[in-house]
Subunit: 432 residues, 2 copies
């Protein structure tokens, strides 16, 4: 395949959160990893160009999963019914024991290969993915993802307190291994890049946070972590870092809250006013994990973030979330936003409901999350990365019905799975 | 296959909402449509009995879907993003136009055949299913379901006001056709039985409700309808039937709220104290449609119903709900119940969360809903209908992990689909 070509199909994407742009039987033109444009007809200047015609199939921009835990994939879809008195139990029963197995590189290869393969048959093209403490396994994960053509960030975890015996680094180790890892990444792993990843405040000492802040500044790498996911977590952070105006300050004081490099914070369910103001000022990106949040009885105030001009993308949060397929998380984004309004803001029985609708949720999954990456991603506008997913929804359709492209997309968000992923392009390269 | 036999596998069921009963490699014994018992080993008295061994697969009781709309299956998975200022719009855009197509029996055959076939590869064995106004199409649906071995209720709709032109009966028609239909059902359609089904108060005149009440008494058929699904609907009923203590009274005054025959009411999101008391007194069964409710921003107070001793089963509410697979609705039952508590009842950040857990949700889907049927259904206890579904979850499992039966069931509720349905028995007959 030459570096300049077109694909044809029913193009559907969101330039803004308000509405879909649909080009039925439209052309999407690629040159050198980048989109030249989306057109209803092939423009004269491109006549004779190689065209792959996907017929009636839908073509959407590749989606960005801004929060998932690669080493938790083995216990996806379970662990939701432990006693709900705190995250500690879930960590003890599921996350820490499973993650500690990645010290074994053979285990890591088997498990990460399944993850990377399964990720191919989803709409995700880019991501910000947590790995484990283990540098070798993290580098292996980056290699496996790069081999399959993915783009995005992978983070070796930092944890030097409050984890399990055997799954915790010393402060010296966590700093040394992070530097070694960042050096090893230089010139390796294609479009898979490193991101500094303290798990969250309770598992990183002040000394390690200070050192990580300096590393971020020196290596100019972005940062990701968790923020204000649960009320008990916030109480714990208050004990560990007394006197702060908000949880976010516990990252900001070390230059890891957007002041130095771009930063993703996952969950952000319970912000206070100080946190909203700080996030807005620092241009922090929220990774909204709607399905995982709901499984804990939580609904994050996404409309509030958007009203504050704060950038929001979506995360599957596997294995806190159940599926790698980000499209299947969109109904949680929309429906939970209406439920939050209904249960906490509604004033009158006959009031018009407020919440996020499908174009807004799709925008967050595509252009919203895609804006975190240095190259523009998540739209079919000129100059964006050529990331595209071709969807074949024949299995879901009755031939005696007709559905318009937006209805077809909606159906994919509620009924689709790996069987509908027909082809996939990342940075102009066909990876599936 | 003789009428007395056993199947073997990992049996999992709920005698009570509190916990699962698990028999690994257990035996489930059938005699004449009925369960003789579930045993860890084949008892001596059954030695020599024909045994089908399903190995490591899970075997669960068939589930009961207490609320779905058969003629809406064609627009499943869509229609959620219309203006949310009232149900009327959704009725006008989706429900009424599609349902009116079932006047054409050829159309009905094509569409209902797909529904009946798709329902085979789910865990549902019994149901209470809305059809349309059309008597011939309703009888066809009953025939198609009976041919496939299903059990349960199908309702020809009654609507003699507030519908669309062309999709509404006169009062005289709705009475006459209902009587004709009930007569036609006698001795036909195997285990598929009729249930009287006024759509809801706004679409039935007082005259037709009075006549239907008399029919229910004469024919001793059960009743199903919708109740208190949305605040705007409740306001409308208040206008149509002023002076009642609650919406439920609008059915009760005609003997269609459990006082004469068993009654299912779908949704029940906004009960007042009078309604709770009346439902409890009349032994009305709630069809809880958690996923559909959430898609409208609603979370029904199921813990409240259970505390009042009110019977609750589950409904997929297709096409208000997105999938026929009831297992996939269980996470909505549990997670939304925690969200409701968290958003409306939580007093303190460190309080222990309250909500329904997986055994409770599974109980509602199996024994809870199954208790609506004249024969006991939904458990593997002695004397229950022999309804069983064999699930093969190999696709979802990593061979380097081990999962216990409860974890495997949890994973099926969050990741499973038609690919996992391996075999199915209804009333002792293997239907798949």
């Amino acid at each position: 395949m030459s570096s300049t070509y077109a694909i044809r199909g029913n193009l559907i994407f969101t330039k803004t959160p308000e509405k879909f742009t649909v080009l039925e039987h439209g052309y999407l033109i690629c040159e050198d990893r980048t989109i030249l444009g989306a057109f209803p007809e092939l423009p004269d200047r491109y006549r004779g160009m190689e065209v792959t015609d996907y017929g009636e199939r839908l073509i959407i921009p590749g989606l960005s999963d801004l929060h998932l835990h690669a080493p938790q994939y083995g216990f996806r879809g379970m662990g939701h019914y432990i006693p709900r008195d705190g995250w500690t139990t879930w960590f003890d029963l599921y996350a820490f024991p499973e993650e500690s197995r990645y010290a074994d590189l053979d285990y890591a290869r088997r498990a990460y290969t399944r993850l990377a393969d399964d990720l191919l048959t989803t709409t995700t093209t880019r991501f910000a993915m947590f790995a484990t403490l283990h540098r070798p396994a993290t580098e292996l994960l980056m290699e496996l993802l790069s081999e399959r053509g993915f783009a995005g960030y992978v983070g070796k975890l930092n944890m030097d307190r409050n984890s399990l015996p055997g799954y915790q680094e010393t402060t010296e180790e966590t700093i040394r291994e992070t530097i070694l890892w960042l050096n090893n990444c230089q010139g390796h792993f294609g479009d898979i890049k490193p991101i500094v990843t303290p798990r969250y405040t309770p598992t990183s000492t002040d000394t390690s946070m200070e050192a990580l802040g300096k590393i971020v500044e020196e290596y100019r790498v972005p940062v990701m972590s968790h923020l204000s996911e649960g009320l008990n977590e916030i109480e714990w952070v208050k004990e560990l870092k007394p006197g702060l105006s908000c949880y976010g300050e516990a990252y900001d004081m070390y230059g890891m809250f957007g002041s130095v490099t771009p930063t993703i914070m996952a969950h952000c369910v319970y912000p206070n006013e100080a946190e909203l103001a700080l996030m807005s000022r620092r241009n922090v990106t929220v990774a909204h994990c709607a399905q995982c949040n709901l499984s804990l009885g939580n609904i994050a105030p996404i409309r509030t973030y958007l009203e504050h001009g704060i950038r929001v993308g979506l995360g599957t949060d596997v294995a806190g979330g159940d599926t790698l397929e980000l499209l299947r998380h969109l109904p949680f984004v929309t429906d939970a936003s209406y439920a939050r309004w209904n249960l906490t803001e509604r004033q009158d029985p006959m009031e018009e409901p407020k919440g996020l609708d499908l174009p807004a949720a799709f925008y967050l999954a595509s252009k919203g999350g895609g804006s975190f990456f240095p190259q523009k991603a998540g739209s079919f506008e000129e100059g964006f990365c050529f990331d595209a997913v071709v969807l074949d929804d024949q299995r879901l359709s009755d031939e005696w019905h007709s559905y318009n492209p937006i209805e077809r997309l909606e159906r994919l968000t509620r009924m689709g799975d790996d069987r509908e992923i027909h082809a996939k392009y990342i940075n102009g390269k066909k990876v599936l």
